[in-house]
């Protein structure tokens, strides 16, 4: 290929990923007081983001993002649109390829994997999309089953039982045989959550799950997410504009702007007493 087609922004130099033990120790020390989640000394973060950079053409949308997420922790990422929150999320399951930096899941570097390994990784990292992205040719039940049967190779019976269980959990047991087109947006998003949860991922990513919904449908989806956060012990990283949800459910709130993590901490701290002027301004404009 010609040099023209290969044009890229100049490579960004980042230090190599820290060794697991050292990283865990530093993360433990750093995150004390930033999250209400209880983690113990010696425990390792389930997701480790180090010096993550991402550029689209010449635009750098993530600038040296560092973040640790602990097993079972619920992290809510806030920030104005264009701040890079969705991009960061999409990097975690490699829907976007990082330009530089490291993402480690259970201390396993994912940024240099082959496509087969990437597929394997994605089983363990679930994702819920803003536009639901249900498979329109399949019923709600089949949507929840297909990943289980095709990827996890579960038997049809097993997958169906799991699908019905997860649909019941999101309150849609009676809609199992409906096609997405016959469901409301809120219902579709709940099916999408069931689809992701049925894979029993280690980490569940939510990319503005309620942004495409009508206001009156938002609550049903948030209730499902709240239930998931409080009762399943699932590690969740949620990009949202729902401040109420963040305040009530999050163990930690991360505020991003312009591709940088500006501030992170306990929800009450960030909401009521933000350190950063830009955070205060953003929250003020929302509230």
């Amino acid at each position: 290929m010609s040099a023209k087609l290969r044009h890229r922004a100049p490579a960004i130099e980042v230090p190599p990923a820290l060794p697991a033990e050292e990283a865990a120790r530093i993360a433990y020390a750093n995150d004390q007081g930033l999250t209400s989640h209880h983690f113990t000394p010696g425990e390792h973060p389930i997701v480790r983001i180090e010096h993550l950079n991402k550029s689209f053409d010449d635009t750098l949308v993530l600038k040296d993002v560092n973040l640790n997420v602990w097993p079972g922790e619920v992290v809510v990422v806030l920030g104005p649109s264009g701040s890079g929150k969705s991009t960061m999320l999409r990097c975690i399951n490699l829907l976007e390829t990082p330009s530089a930096g490291h993402i480690l899941i259970e201390d396993d570097e994912i940024t240099n994997k082959s496509s087969a390994e990437v597929n394997k990784l994605r089983r363990d990292v679930g994702m819920v999309f803003q536009q639901f992205n249900l498979f329109p040719h399949l019923t709600a039940k089949e949507n929840v089953m297909i990943g289980q049967t095709k990827v996890l190779k579960r038997s049809k019976e097993e997958a169906e039982a799991e699908a019905l269980k997860q649909l019941a959990a999101v309150g849609l047991a009676d809609r199992a045989d409906f096609k997405p087109a016959q469901l409301s947006g809120g219902q579709q998003q709940r099916v999408a959550i069931a689809r992701a949860v049925a894979m029993h991922p280690n980490v569940l990513l939510f990319d503005e799950p309620t942004s495409a919904l009508d206001p009156e449908l938002v609550r049903g989806v948030l209730d499902v997410m709240r239930d998931l956060a409080e009762n399943s012990g699932m590690t969740m990283i949620v990009v949202t504009h729902e401040m109420g949800f963040a305040r009530d459910v999050a163990d930690r709130v991360v505020f991003m702007e312009d591709g940088v993590v500006v501030e992170q901490g306990l929800p009450e701290k960030v909401f009521d007493n933000p350190e950063n002027a830009r955070t205060a301004e953003f929250l003020g404009s929302i509230n």
Binding site: N93, L95, S115, A116, N119, K120, L121, R122, R123, V125, G126, M127, F129, Q131, F132, N133, L134, F135, P136, H137, I146, G147, K150, V151, D174, F178, K179, P180, A181, Q182, L183, S184, G185, G186, Q187, Q188, A192, R195, A196, M199, A212, L213, D214, E216, L217, G220
Partner: protein, 444 residues
């Protein structure tokens, strides 16, 4: 003209033989009248068959042997034939000289007796042309036999070669019936109607064109599964991430789409035999149609695949599906529905394009109608062919619009729904009944 000249030659030959025989003085009294030939005039509308149960003309010729005179001839046809109501023309030739022979014909069912006013002299060729007679309605091979009277004695005639006759079908009866209708006559007297929509010919066309129509359908139906498979293959190649595969697909698709089907037919039908590859015409027709359609289908499938939103790929990826799984369980099933209308349209085109195969001698619909038009000198067979094409294409055109409507309706729910409908859907308990009705409607 041909017949007459032939008859003259025969007569000449016979006369010579007669002279020769006389000089050698070998009389053959047992056979005084030899049957030379017996033919019937074709009475098939637009064909060259002889149909039973329909008026036609029987021509019988025999030679009076030397030393004999014939005073009467009786011709007999198989049961079911009738000479009733016929008129007979008697011709006798001696050498090249036409003789005045008069006589009386007495038709009696399946036989007719012609008595001559004066005996037909030796050595002459006797021709009887019996107009408005009919062969048996059930058709079959009809042998003309009979007797003749010579010198007061009755002898058997040698049987003629059989005359092939066609059964008079119900269709033919309809044609006969139409022939007699005054309105048909009035209709046909209009130059346009008579030339383009002659009822009798329309009726016969339908039966004679049917095999061609079946072949057209057969070719395109047999070709299409291969076209779909090939099309899918090249669609996948065209969206492949390897440049070389993409190039192969682009060349294949563009060359086939960029050249006329007519040319492709010629290349295949005349080119392959030159390489000593001889394939049955119909099979080769299927192959050409399959290859041609596959190029169009490849583009249709490619567009269909690329019209599936990126979110579908992302959702499949986020579940850990690999490319093959994503394609076959998520993308292609959705593509199929989307491309049904376009594929059906292409099928319609392919079906119509089989007509081009007539140029290389495939006996399809156009070929049949062309032949029939040539024989009948009337355009009606082409109109009948048009009707045959429409029988297939019109319902398919309807299918296209119905499917398009269905897809438009079901894809309306692809993303977030309009507020009012969302309301309805989320008021779960109260609206379940309404929704099941919607489900039922969707199933239908």
């Amino acid at each position: 003209m041909q017949h007459r000249r032939g008859a003259l030659l025969v007569a000449l030959a016979l006369a010579l033989t007669g002279v020769f025989a006389t000089t050698l003085a070998v009389p053959q009294p047992a056979q005084a009248l030899t049957t030379e030939k017996a033919t019937a005039r074709p009475n098939e509308d637009g064909g060259d068959g002889v149909i039973g149960g329909l008026d036609t003309r029987l021509t019988w010729e025999g030679t009076v042997e030397p030393g004999e005179e014939v005073t009467s001839v009786t011709l007999t046809l198989p049961e079911g034939s009738t000479f009733d109501g016929s008129t007979t023309r008697i011709t006798a030739l001696e050498g090249l000289k036409r003789m005045d022979v008069t006589g009386e014909a007495a038709p009696a069912g399946e036989s007719i007796t012609v008595s001559f006013d004066q005996p037909v002299p030796e050595g002459s060729l006797l021709r009887l042309e019996i107009t408005n007679m009919q062969f048996p309605s059930e058709g079959g091979e009809c042998v003309v036999s009979g007797t003749y009277v010579s010198g007061g004695e009755t002898h058997d005639l040698t049987a003629s070669k059989p005359i092939e006759t066609i059964a008079n079908t119900p269709l033919q009866s309809i044609v006969n019936w139409l022939d007699e209708q005054p309105w048909v006559e009035a209709w046909n007297s209009n130059q346009f109607l008579g030339m383009f929509l002659k009822p009798q010919l329309l009726v016969t066309s339908f039966s004679s064109l049917a095999p061609g129509w079946i072949l057209c359908l057969g070719i395109v139906v047999a070709a299409y599964p291969f076209a779909i498979a090939l099309g899918l293959l090249f669609a996948m190649l065209k969206i492949s991430k390897w440049r070389i595969l993409r190039a192969v697909a682009v060349i294949y698709i563009n060359v086939l789409r960029g050249t006329p089907l007519f040319l492709q037919i010629y290349i295949m039908f005349f080119g392959l035999p030159m390489l000593n590859i001889n394939i049955d015409n119909n099979i080769l027709g299927i192959i050409v149609m399959a290859i041609n359609s596959s190029a169009y289908l490849a583009e249709i499938f490619r567009a269909g695949i690329q019209s599936i939103p990126q979110g579908q790929y992302e959702a499949a990826s986020s579940l850990g599906m690999n490319y093959v799984q994503t394609m076959f369980t998520i993308i292609l099933p959705q593509t199929v529905r989307r491309v049904i209308p376009t594929v059906t349209s292409d099928f319609i085109t392919a079906f119509k394009d089989t007509s081009l195969l007539s140029s290389v001698g495939v006996m399809e619909l156009m070929m049949f109608s062309k032949n029939l038009t040539t024989v009948s000198g009337n355009i009606t067979p082409y109109v009948a062919a048009g009707i045959f094409y429409l029988i297939v294409t019109l319902p398919l055109i309807k299918v296209v619009s119905i499917v398009e409507e269905n897809i438009a309706r079901s894809e309306r729910g692809g993303g977030p729904r309009p507020k009012r409908r969302a309301d309805v859907a989320d008021n779960a308990a109260a609206q379940i009944a309404a929704q099941s009705k919607e489900v039922a409607a969707d199933v239908c």
